[in-house]
Structure formats: C-alpha cells, structure tokens
Symmetry: C2
Subunit: 227 residues, 2 copies
Amino acid sequence: MQKSVIIVAGGSGKRMGSEIPKQFIELNKRPVLMRTIDKFYAYDAQIEIVVVLPMNLIPIWDRACLEYNFKIKHKVAIGGESRYHSVKSGLFAVTPGSLTAIHDGVRPLVSVETISRCFKVAEEKGNAIPAIQPTESVRAITGTGNRVLQREDVQLIQTPQVFVWEQLENAYEQEFTTEFTDDASVIESYGFRIHLVEGNRENIKITTPTDMIFAKLYFESESSSSE
Amino acid sequence: MQKSVIIVAGGSGKRMGSEIPKQFIELNKRPVLMRTIDKFYAYDAQIEIVVVLPMNLIPIWDRACLEYNFKIKHKVAIGGESRYHSVKSGLFAVTPGSLTAIHDGVRPLVSVETISRCFKVAEEKGNAIPAIQPTESVRAITGTGNRVLQREDVQLIQTPQVFVWEQLENAYEQEFTTEFTDDASVIESYGFRIHLVEGNRENIKITTPTDMIFAKLYFESESSSSE
C-alpha cells in the first residue's frame, strides 16, 4: 500500500522567544524540520512526503534546502488558519488512497520504531495514535479546585497519527470546530474509533526553550556516539 | 519559620535496567541524590534535610558521602514498604512544626525558583504542589476505549510538595491505602484542599534510561556553560 506523510510545520516561533521559527533552528547543524523528514525517509525511502508551511516561510525553506544541500524528495503545501486547515491543505497533495501519517514538524525525536508501529497498526485497524503513560501523578482541574486522576488511565498523545484514506477523506469534510484539538479528534468526531499504540518517550514536541535544549543535546550526543 | 525537606530516595533501580540504584548514578561526576540535595541547599543553606533510603543502601550512601567529599549536613531515615511509609519515617526525623517539603530524590532538575515558590505558597495556604500543563494532547482510557480530555484541565504533578506541619501530622496518621499515589493524595484524603503552583518543565522524575540521558546532558551542558 502507498504510504504518505504530511509533516505540519506551521509554527511561527512565538512561544520559543525566538526570531527564527523553531522548525528552522539547527539541531547539530541541520534544521529541526530536516531532522524530522530524515526519520520518515529512514523508515521508508519510498514514502511520499508533504511538508505544510505557512506561505511566508516557503521561500525560506526553499533556500534552506539549497544551503543545506537537502535532497530528500518532498512536496510543499501551504498552511492554513489552524492545524485542521493545514492538514486539509496537505491532504490535497497526497496520492488518494495512501495510508497517511500526520506528523508534527517539531518532533524530530520520533523513533523509526514508533513510525513503523503506527503504520502497521493503522493498516490493520484503520488508524493508530502513538501515546505514552505519564511518569508523573496527574490531576484534573475542576470547577471547585482539582482532583487526582489514576495515572494508568491517562495517555499523553504524540504523532505520527496514521489513518487509512477512507477515514481522512470523510473526516476532513466535516465543518471546522475548535474542538478539533488534534488529528485524532477530527477522526473521532466523525465517529471512527481511535486506536492507541506505544510511542517513544523522547518523542517530545519541541515547544519551549527547554525542549530545544534537550533536543540539541540529544542530537549532539547521538552524533558523538556514532563517530 | 523552620523549613525542612524530606528527600525520598527509595528506588531500587529496576526500571532503569541498571545495577546501580538510580539515585547513585553520576550526573556530571556527582550522584543524582547529591545533585538533588544541592538544590535545596542552594535555596536555603539553613534548611533541615532528611534523606530517606532503603536500609541496604545506607552504608553505600555513607561511603559515597566520604568518596565525593559531600559536606552538606543531613539526617538519614530508613525507607519503608511504600512511598507513604517512607515519608512517614522521614517525618519522625523532622523538627515538629516545620514547614516541610517532600521531594523525590530523582528530581535533581528542580529549579530553586520552583522550591521557593512552593515554600512561599504553602506558608500562606497550607500546602503547595508544583504542576505543569502537558504540551501533548491528552486522552483518558475508558471502559470501551478512550476519549480526548481538554489539555487545559490536566496538570502533571511534580515535587517538592510542601505542607504546613498540621496537615502532615494529621494526614500521616491515617491508615495506609493503595489510593495514596503521592503525597498530595494523602493530604487530600484527610480533607485538606490541594493548592497547585507552577513547576518547572525540566523538573523530570528520572525514571527511564531516556530520562537519565536527558539529565546527564543537562548537567554536562550546565557545567560547560559556567566554565
């Protein structure tokens, strides 16, 4: 079955306190977004790759690809108002019928094993969403204060979230609502059941400067251990 | 007001796949547990420090203190069957009436600001529990599958959890139940209301080998940036 991945790289970098959008910040000499693409290419060199970028960043990405001599074949789609709209834009560039992953551009620490697990389960069950159990205690905020949740019952959701084409083409025809907090919630809202699979703990979404420090250190250590 | 901290270091290292209990693994040339104690000493050199260790590790800790020339004054208490029992053992070594923090021995990345914030709020409100909002989407496991939770309503709980003496002396008289998943849950079970304060994102509980890699890299980078 044809496999595709939509890599959503819509962030503007505001939460990083950085002028450079975080998908362009270097991790051991290569931008975050290239590191992310590398992982899917390592999983399957034949995978169809669609990168979704805000319009104003597309020329910057094109130039970066030249500067870094980045040769992995990919299409570029224009990002939209929200995650939902960006994914929908990416879907137009995907070969119809593909088993399709949706992945955050700022998750370069995803493991090839996680990618492989998600595609495998999605092909069997219709979709696969990687998740990990928190190592922390968890509390829920309530109207009057807060209460403890059973940690075993809580899952932190990662990407890539992989879906068969039938689920995507139907669910992304729905009218947008702010309840679409991630890709799985769009699919779930249409009525499909969500299947969770094991993610990998280091597969963080680079959101804060601390996350970026961790990711930098991780890639530096990976490169020094392979020398 | 007298301030105290009970540092619970009861882990046996099984989840790390390591022969060395994780509180003794070196982070940039000093064991995890010393790094953790350093943070409370940096917050307040007058703080009373009680370290709770399993009986069989106490001679190893004593020898490590000599080997590393570790001079920060502290008492040692013997750990129990569960977290609850270890904390209770630590409480016997604390000066009665203290504003008392309970902290995980394997959280050396707590910031002095977080410690300070917790003591300050606990003095005003009776207790303070540091927490952060997850950066991930969150799902709850249900009887029939899973469902999305509103991320804004979920908090990941850290330590130090700080309490006024009255709350500790009453709550730790309760009979033990397996519902005591952390220190706050013991206090809450007695009927006190829990106050959440902002933690710091890098304040991870070192649980897996990946966490240890992050913590090592963090301390190495901290030391190289201060040279």
